[in-house]
C-alpha cells in the first residue's frame, strides 16, 4: 500500500515535497524500494516533471518535485518493490497557485 502526502498544502508553484509510506498487506513497512516520482498537468501538451524519493526511515520515502505552473496536477508514484513487483499510485494535486 502506498500512502502519499504532499507539502506544502495548499500546493504552490515551485518545489514540493512528496512523502510516502510503503507497507505490505500485513501493514509492515516495505524497505529498499525504488521510488520514481512524476508530476503531470491535467491538460495535455505540457511537460511532465520527474523526481525520485529515497528512504528516510523504515518504509518511509521522501522526494521532491517541481510544479512549474499553476493549475491542476497529478502526481504519479512509481514504486518498484525489492522483489521486482511494480506498483503505481496517482495523487491529484488540484489548484496549485
Amino acid at each position: 500500500m502506498i500512502e502519499p502526502e504532499i507539502a506544502p498544502r495548499p500546493a504552490r508553484i515551485g518545489l514540493a515535497t512528496v512523502t510516502l509510506r510503503l507497507s505490505d498487506a500485513a501493514g509492515q513497512p516495505v524497505r529498499q524500494a525504488r521510488i520514481a516520482l512524476e508530476a503531470d498537468m491535467a491538460h495535455p501538451g505540457m511537460r511532465p516533471e520527474f523526481g525520485a524519493a529515497r528512504e528516510v526511515a523504515a518504509g518511509r520515502y521522501q522526494g521532491q518535485l517541481t510544479f512549474t505552473m499553476a493549475g491542476d496536477w497529478v502526481v504519479v508514484i512509481h514504486a518498484t518493490l525489492p522483489g521486482g513487483r511494480k506498483l503505481e499510485r496517482q495523487m491529484e494535486v488540484n489548484g496549485v497557485r
Binding site: D40, M41, A42, P44, G45, M46, R47, V74, N94, R97
Partner: protein, 477 residues
C-alpha cells in the same frame, strides 16, 4: 485566363493540382484521418486516464485544434475536406438511402450556432481537455450524430446546418487566402448542364456518377468560403475544367454583400451574424476559462448565489459573455451609428452587418489560444504515440520520451500577440470599409463606435493572453 482571374491557382501547381483533381483525392486524405480518429477513440476509452498521456486528449486539444486554425489561416478549409465523419457517412449511405428533406425551419445557422456554444459550454463544464474518456465519447457522438442525421435527411445536412466544427471552419475560412471558385465566369454563361451543382448521371439517368455540390452552392454565383467544405465535387464535376482553388485577399468576402448562392445576403442573415458573434465572443470566453481570474469569479459568484455546483455559475458566465455582452456592445455601437453618424438603417440590421467585421478579431484570439497549446506542446505527440504503441505489447517506437514538449512559452507569446494584432488590423479594416459603404452622412463617425468595440475586445484579448495560465478542472474548489 481572363483579366479578373487571380495569379495563383492551387490546381495549377505541379503534383498538388493533379492530386486534387483526382477523383479519390478526398478519400485518400480521409482514410488516415479516420484511422487516427479510431485510434483516439480506442485510446480514450481503454488507454491511460491521464490526459497528457492519452492520444484522444493530446491529439484533440493540442494538435488538431492548433493545426486546424493554422491551416485555415494559411490555406483554407482543408480539414472539412479530410473530414473522417464524411467518409463513414459515405459508406453508410451505400446501405441506407436518406429519404427526407431537412425541415425548412431548421435551414439556417441558429441550431448550429447554439450547438457551437453548447460544445464550448460542455468543454468547460466537463473539463473535456482533462478527460480522455469524455473526449473519446465526444468523437463517438459525432460519428453517431452524422450517421443518424445524414442517414435520415438528404444532401449534406449535417455539414451545412448542424456540425459545430464545420461552422467554426466556415466562419474562419472567410479569412482564408484560398477559395474554391470559378476561373472564368464567361465559361459558365452558356453552360446548360450545371454539373457543378446538379452532378452527373449515367445515360440511364438512374445512377449518379459524379455528385454536384451537396451544400447547394452554385459555383457561378458562389461568393466566398461560407458553407464550402472544399469537398472538390464541383471541381471534378465541371465538364469545362473551370473550377479552381484560387487565391484571394483574406476577408475580402466580408467587405462586400453580394447575393451568395445557397446563402443569400450576409446582411439579411441574422443567424449567420449570430454565428459570427458566437465565434468572436466565444474565442475570448474559451480562453477566459483557462486563466486564474475565472476561478476567482466563479467562486465569488458561487458564494453570492449560494450554489456549489458549477453548471449554473458557468451558465450565467456564458449567457453574459455570448448574449448580454455582444448585445450591449454592438447595440450601443449601432445606436451611436444611427444618432451620431446619421445612419438611416435600423439598429438590428446595423448589428447584423457589422457583426461580420469582428470575425478577424475572433479568429486572432482562436489563433493565439490554440497556437499556444499547439506550439508549446507540439512534440508531446511523440511520447504519447510511443506510449500508445508500447501499450499494445511491444515498444516498437522506443520508450516514451516524456521530456519532449515544444517551443518555450517565451518564444510563443510574441507569436500570440502577433495574431491578436493581425486580428485587430483585420477588424478595423473591415469595419472601416463597412462604415465607408454605410449610407450615412458621416462615415468616420460611423466607424468610430465600431473601432471602439474592436479595441475593447482586443484589449480584453491581450489581457487574457498575458494572464498566467491556470489549467484547472476544479472551478468551485
Amino acid at each position: 485566363m481572363s483579366a479578373e482571374s487571380p495569379a495563383f491557382d492551387l490546381l495549377k501547381v505541379p503534383f498538388i493540382g493533379p492530386f486534387f483533381g483526382w477523383r479519390h483525392a478526398r478519400t485518400f486524405l480521409q482514410i488516415p484521418v479516420l484511422i487516427v480518429g479510431i485510434a483516439m477513440i480506442a485510446h480514450g476509452l481503454f488507454g491511460p486516464t491521464l490526459a497528457p498521456k492519452n492520444l484522444a486528449t493530446t491529439v484533440s486539444w493540442v494538435h488538431f485544434r492548433g493545426a486546424l486554425v493554422l491551416v485555415l489561416l494559411c490555406a483554407g478549409n482543408l480539414f472539412c475536406l479530410a473530414c473522417p465523419f464524411m467518409l463513414v457517412r459515405q459508406w453508410a449511405r451505400r446501405l441506407f438511402r436518406p429519404r427526407f428533406t431537412w425541415p425548412r425551419k431548421l435551414r439556417n445557422k441558429w441550431l448550429s450556432a447554439g450547438l457551437f456554444a453548447l460544445i464550448l459550454f460542455l468543454y468547460e463544464l466537463f473539463d473535456l481537455w482533462s478527460s480522455p474518456w469524455w473526449t473519446a465519447w465526444l468523437i463517438v457522438a459525432y460519428f453517431a450524430g452524422i450517421l443518424v442525421i445524414d442517414g435520415i435527411f438528404k444532401h449534406a445536412v449535417f455539414c451545412k446546418f448542424v456540425c459545430p466544427i464545420g461552422q467554426f471552419n466556415f466562419v474562419a475560412s472567410t479569412l482564408s487566402p484560398l477559395e474554391v471558385k470559378v476561373r472564368d465566369q464567361g465559361v459558365c454563361v452558356p453552360c446548360e448542364t450545371k454539373d457543378c451543382i446538379r452532378g452527373r448521371r449515367d445515360p440511364s439517368g438512374l445512377v449518379v456518377i459524379q455528385r454536384g455540390c451537396e451544400l447547394a452552392l452554385f459555383q457561378p454565383s458562389k461568393a466566398g468560403n461560407m458553407d464550402c467544405t472544399f469537398c472538390l465535387e464541383c471541381i471534378q464535376a465541371c465538364p469545362h475544367d473551370n473550377v479552381g482553388i484560387l487565391s484571394r485577399p483574406p476577408a475580402s468576402e466580408l467587405m462586400t454583400d453580394p447575393r451568395r448562392s445557397g446563402i443569400g445576403f450576409f446582411s439579411r442573415r441574422k443567424d449567420i451574424a449570430a454565428l459570427a458573434l458566437v465565434f468572436t465572443f466565444g474565442a475570448l470566453l474559451n480562453a477566459f476559462g483557462m486563466v486564474s481570474p475565472v476561478y476567482a469569479l466563479e467562486s465569488w459568484m458561487g458564494r453570492m448565489l449560494h450554489v456549489s455546483h458549477e453548471a449554473p455559475v458557468l451558465g450565467l458566465i456564458f449567457v453574459f459573455s455570448l448574449i448580454v455582452e455582444p448585445v450591449v456592445m454592438l447595440g450601443l455601437a449601432a445606436w451611436l451609428t444611427r444618432v451620431w453618424a446619421g445612419s438611416r438603417q435600423a439598429t438590428l440590421p446595423l448589428i447584423v452587418r457589422y457583426a461580420y467585421g469582428l470575425v478577424p478579431l475572433g479568429f486572432g484570439m482562436w489563433l493565439a489560444h490554440y497556437s499556444f497549446h499547439f506550439l508549446t506542446g507540439i512534440l508531446t505527440l511523440i511520447p504519447v504515440t510511443q506510449n500508445a504503441v508500447a501499450s499494445l505489447g511491444r515498444p516498437l517506437l522506443g520508450e516514451p520520451l516524456w521530456t519532449l514538449t515544444g517551443i518555450p512559452t517565451r518564444f510563443v507569446q510574441p507569436i500570440e500577440l502577433g495574431f491578436l494584432v493581425l486580428g485587430l488590423a483585420g477588424s478595423l479594416l473591415l469595419t472601416h470599409r463597412l462604415a465607408q459603404d454605410e449610407d450615412a452622412p458621416h462615415p468616420v463617425r460611423a466607424f468610430i463606435p465600431w473601432a471602439a468595440v474592436c479595441l475593447l475586445l482586443w484589449v480584453a484579448a491581450v489581457w487574457l493572453i498575458l494572464q498566467p495560465m491556470e489549467m484547472r478542472a476544479t472551478f468551485m474548489g
